[in-house]
Symmetry: C2
Subunit: 138 residues, 2 copies
Amino acid sequence: MILSQTAEYALQATLFLAEVEEDRPYRVGEIAASMRVPQNYLSKVLHVLARAGILTSLRGPRGGFQLAIPAEELPLKEVVRQFHQFTGERRCLLGRERCGEGEGCAAHSRWESVALTVEAFFAETTVAQLSPGRKGPE
Amino acid sequence: MILSQTAEYALQATLFLAEVEEDRPYRVGEIAASMRVPQNYLSKVLHVLARAGILTSLRGPRGGFQLAIPAEELPLKEVVRQFHQFTGERRCLLGRERCGEGEGCAAHSRWESVALTVEAFFAETTVAQLSPGRKGPE
DNA sequence: ACAATTAATCATTTAAAGATGATTAAATCC
DNA sequence: GGATTTAATCATCTTTAAATGATTAATTGT
């Protein structure tokens, strides 16, 4: 697994809100039921996303959560970042500060490029691109 | 983080044994001290590697652990696999069985290729390639 | 045989992720 | 204003990863 359970919940819920047809807030209950995940846990996850400005939340009747950013402008990384420490800083697969005493090794630069590929995916892929079932132009 | 702490320990210890100059068993104590990780915990990790045939273990005085496979012929994946479930089977980043109801989406195939890149790195990179400081021919 | 050394095992603890249940506070509707 | 609906918060529990400490069993050297 590359993503934690929590980060996966966050992505799935964001995706749900991106794919939804009516333009209104959706309750945690609705989202959790559709995703088949614990409601209270999801509630906390969504709260984090709301605090981060990715969702808007509204209390009371007709309340719920909505995307605060158009799905086309929302990179996966923005969502995942709230729950997942990206490797970014980590030069070395093994977490060593100095790798090979200055010279470095072939495998390390290869790894760096792999890690960058992963990060680039999350940075450059938008939520919209992950939603095949959406209406509206691509 | 892409690897669990435990998988990282396993890789580091294997690397230690690959880079070592004397051809003799090395004690858990030595390895743990060099890596600065808990000895008893590492002991269990090494035990798993020994059971998997990656290391040989010897008890008693002059005992310890040694590589059972030449570092040049030992892919990182072989080591990591003992502690890390590779995503392999997972078609979908979000863990959904059916992705997009048959059609799939651009992002999913992109993700699949990213995941394959990661796996390929571990499958094709050998422990030897990760050891810049080793003697012997590349 | 015996003492010393070392991996292997066992029992327990700690820390973090994940999940559950109940309560509180904001917003709406009447 | 009062009842209802909903997110937010609080307290607790479970599970898993990580770590610790002590004991056991195999091997060696004398």
